[in-house]
Symmetry: C3
C-alpha cells in the first residue's frame, strides 16, 4: 500500500483509508475489520465523534484498550463540530454545529478518552459552521497542537472560500479537506473544490468514494472496461479517483473484511487516460467540450 | 450601543446603522428620526446619492445646515455610481453605472455640498459596474483620501471576485461590502460572500436586514422563540444577524422613531446557538446537513 | 490597428486577432485572408493543433514555407491538449484531453514543423483538463520557454479557480485566458472570469466575439444605434467588447477578406457608456439592478 503525505507538513497516511462511519458493530467484527485493514497496509482510520450515534469511537477504543500495541500501527483521524438530538447528547434539541473553542476542547478530550489514545493524528472540523469564529478555531487548534494532543488539523465539506478563510487565520497549514468525490459526485473536479486544494498543495480525502449504490444502479456501463484490468467494479471506481493529480485519499466505508482486501488492490491499477475519460463521459452523459 | 471598527484601519461606527433610503420625508420628520437614532447611540447614517430620487441627501443636509453641531455627533456614509432617468438627472436616458474618476469626483463634491459637510466618513461604490476601471477608481479614491474629503472607502453588492479584484488595485483596505443579508436572504452565509470579507478582516454592512415583509409573511415560525427573549420580531431578526462572527452591521430602514429604539435594543440579545440554528432551519426549510 | 501587451511580461499583439478556426480552405484563400489581415494591421493569428481536423496549421504553414518573410510580420498563437477520434490521430478512440509533459512537447514540435516556424509566440492549454498535473505542465512550459521554442504561455476556457491553481505552479505569468465572451455570452462579465484576469493584470482573448448567428437572430434590437456610429452590426458587437476595461482581444473567425477590414474598423468606435448599457440591457432582457 502506498503511503503518502497529505501536505508537506502533514501526516503520512496510507493512500486508502478505512472509514469507521458504519462500524457500529460488535467488537469482534470491528477487530476483524481493523486486522483486515492493517494486513493490507491500510493503517489510517477515519472516525467522527458522531459516527454510530457517538458509539463507533467507543467500540474502536475498547479494542485499542485491550490491545494497546495496535495504536502504534495506525493513524487516527476524527472530527468534531456536529451536534444533534440523541440520547447520548441530551442537551441538543435541534441539529446544529458547534465549533466554539470550548466544544473543540471538550470533543478532543472526549475522543482521546473514548479512543483510548494520547493523541489524534488528524482532527477535522466536520462541516462548515456558519457561526464558526475563525479566531476561536485558530486559538483552539494552536493550543491543541502545542499540547501534542492533536498532531494535524483539517476540515471536511468546506467550500473553497471557507477553506481559504479559515486557513488565513491559522499559522500552520490545514492538511486536508475531506469531501464527497466519486464517479457519482464528480462536481468537485470542475467547481474549484479540487483546484483550491491543489493550489494549497493539500491532498483531499474522499468520502463515499464509490458513490453509494446509485453509481452501479444508474451507470453500469461505467465499468465496461473492468475485465480489461481484471478488476472489480469497486476497484475501477477507486482507481478512477486515484488517477486524479490532486492525490485523492479515498475513505472506504465497507463493513466486510473481504471488501477491504478488494479495495486495497485498486492501488495497483493504472487506468489508461482514454478509459478514464470514457468513464467520465458515461456518468456525465456527454463527452468533454 | 456597541461601537466597533469596520476594519483595523477603518472607521468606528455604531453597530446598528440608520439607513436613509426611505427618508424621503418632511424635514421635521427626518429631524425626529435623526434625534431618535442619536438618542439610541445610533450615530452612523447610511445615504446614497440616488436615495429618494436624489432628494434624501438634500433633506438631511438641510437639517445639518441649520444645526451644524449635529455633524460632530455622527458618521456619514454615502454611495455613488448609479445613474438612471430622472428629472433631477436629465442626461441619463437608460439606467447605467458610472464609476469613472470624473463621476466619482463630481458625485463626492455634490454629496459634500448637499449634505452640508466637509467630509464623508465612508464612500461606497453602489453596484459592481461591468465597466469599472480599477485603475481609475484607485486613483480617484487615493486623491479623495489625500484631500480629506473622504476618509474611508468600500463597495456595495460586490461579489467576492469583484471585491478582490478592486482591492488588488488599491493601496489601502476597502473597509466594507454592503450587501443584502437577512433571514430571508441567507445565501451570503454559504456562497463565499461573508467568507471573503472575513478573510480580509472586513466587516459587512447588511441592507434590508429584516428581509422586507416577506420574512414575516412566509416564515412566521422563525420568531417562535421571541417571548423567550422578551423580544419583538424585528429584534429577533437583527439579533440573528448580530450573532454571526463576520461582525455584521445591520442598516435599518425604518421611518418610525419608535422602531429605531426597538431596533437598537436588539444589540442586547444574545441568541442561544440552537435557537439560531432553528431559525435558520425554518427559513431554509431543512436542517443543516 | 492598436497594438498592446497581453500582460506586462507578455507578447505585443494586435488588439484584433485573426482566428484560423474555420480557415480550412484552399491555400490561395487562406493567403488572401492573411494578406487582408496584415493590411489592416491584424498581425496576430490564432491557431490550434486541432482546427480543421488538424489541417489548418498545415495549410497556413505551407504558405509560410513558400513565403518565409511573412513570419516576421506576424505573431502566432496555437493550442494543445485536446484529442479526439480522427483519421489524422488514429490512436484516439474517445474525445479526451492530454496535458502530459510528453504530449505538450510532442504537440509543440508538431506545430513548429507544421507551421514552418522556429517559435510559437503564445501556446495555450486548450481546455481545462481534469487530469492536468500542474507540476508536469509547469516543467514543460519552463523547458519550452528556455529553449525559445515557445515565447509565452496561457490557457483557454479555464475557470478562475483553474487559472489560479495552474498559475501557482508556474514561475512566470500566464499571459491570457482565451474564453467565450460576447453580447450573446456575457456571463464572464459577472461570474468572476474577467475579474480574476484583471486581478492578475492579464488580458483575455475572446473567442466567438460576435456570438455566432444567434446574437443577430435573437436580439436585432441590440444594434439599433449602429447608424449613430455609422457602424455595421459586426463593428457594434466588437466595439462593445473593446470598451470593457479588461482589455479584451477579440479573435474574429471570418473567412471573408472584406469582413476582416470591416472588423478592423471596430477599433475606432468608442461607444457611449449609455449605449453600452442599453445593448447589455437588450441581451439580458432587463436593466441592471
Amino acid at each position: 500500500m502506498e503511503r503518502r503525505k497529505l501536505h508537506a507538513q502533514g501526516p503520512v497516511f496510507s493512500r486508502i483509508i478505512a472509514g469507521a462511519w458504519r462500524w457500529n458493530l460488535p467488537e469482534a467484527a470491528v477487530n476483524q475489520l481493523i486486522d483486515a485493514s492493517l494486513e493490507q497496509g491500510i493503517t489510517t482510520f477515519d472516525h467522527a465523534d458522531i459516527y454510530g450515534d457517538h458509539s463507533n469511537e467507543v467500540i474502536f477504543g475498547n479494542i485499542l484498550r485491550r490491545n494497546p500495541s495496535l495504536r502504534q500501527k495506525m493513524e487516527l483521524v476524527t472530527k468534531c463540530g456536529i451536534k444533534f438530538p440523541s440520547a447520548h447528547r441530551p442537551s441538543s434539541w435541534v441539529k446544529h454545529y458547534d465549533t466554539s473553542r470550548e466544544h473543540i476542547f471538550w470533543s478532543v478530550e472526549n475522543s482521546l478518552k473514548t479512543l483510548a489514545t494520547d493523541r489524534i493524528d488528524l482532527l477535522l472540523i466536520h462541516r462548515p459552521d456558519p457561526l464558526l469564529n475563525p479566531e476561536e478555531v485558530a486559538e483552539a487548534f494552536g493550543l491543541l497542537k502545542q499540547s501534542g494532543k492533536v498532531l494535524h488539523f483539517g476540515v471536511s465539506n468546506f467550500t473553497p472560500a471557507q477553506f481559504e478563510m479559515l486557513q488565513s487565520y491559522i499559522s500552520f497549514p490545514l492538511v486536508t479537506n475531506q469531501i464527497e468525490i466519486s464517479l457519482a459526485s464528480h462536481a468537485p473536479l470542475f467547481d474549484g473544490s479540487l483546484d483550491i486544494l491543489m493550489k494549497h498543495r493539500v491532498a483531499p480525502m474522499a468520502w463515499s468514494p464509490l458513490g453509494g449504490g446509485k453509481l452501479i444502479a444508474d451507470h453500469a456501463a461505467v465499468f465496461s472496461k473492468a475485465s480489461k484490468y481484471t478488476a472489480t467494479e469497486t476497484q475501477m471506481a477507486l482507481a478512477w479517483l486515484l488517477k486524479h493529480p490532486a492525490g485523492i485519499f479515498p475513505v472506504i466505508g465497507t463493513t466486510k473484511p473481504e471488501r477491504i482486501a478488494e479495495s486495497a488492490h485498486a492501488i495497483d491499477i493504472n487506468l489508461d487516460v482514454q478509459d478514464w475519460f470514457e468513464m467520465l463521459k458515461i456518468v456525465q452523459g456527454k463527452e468533454m467540450p
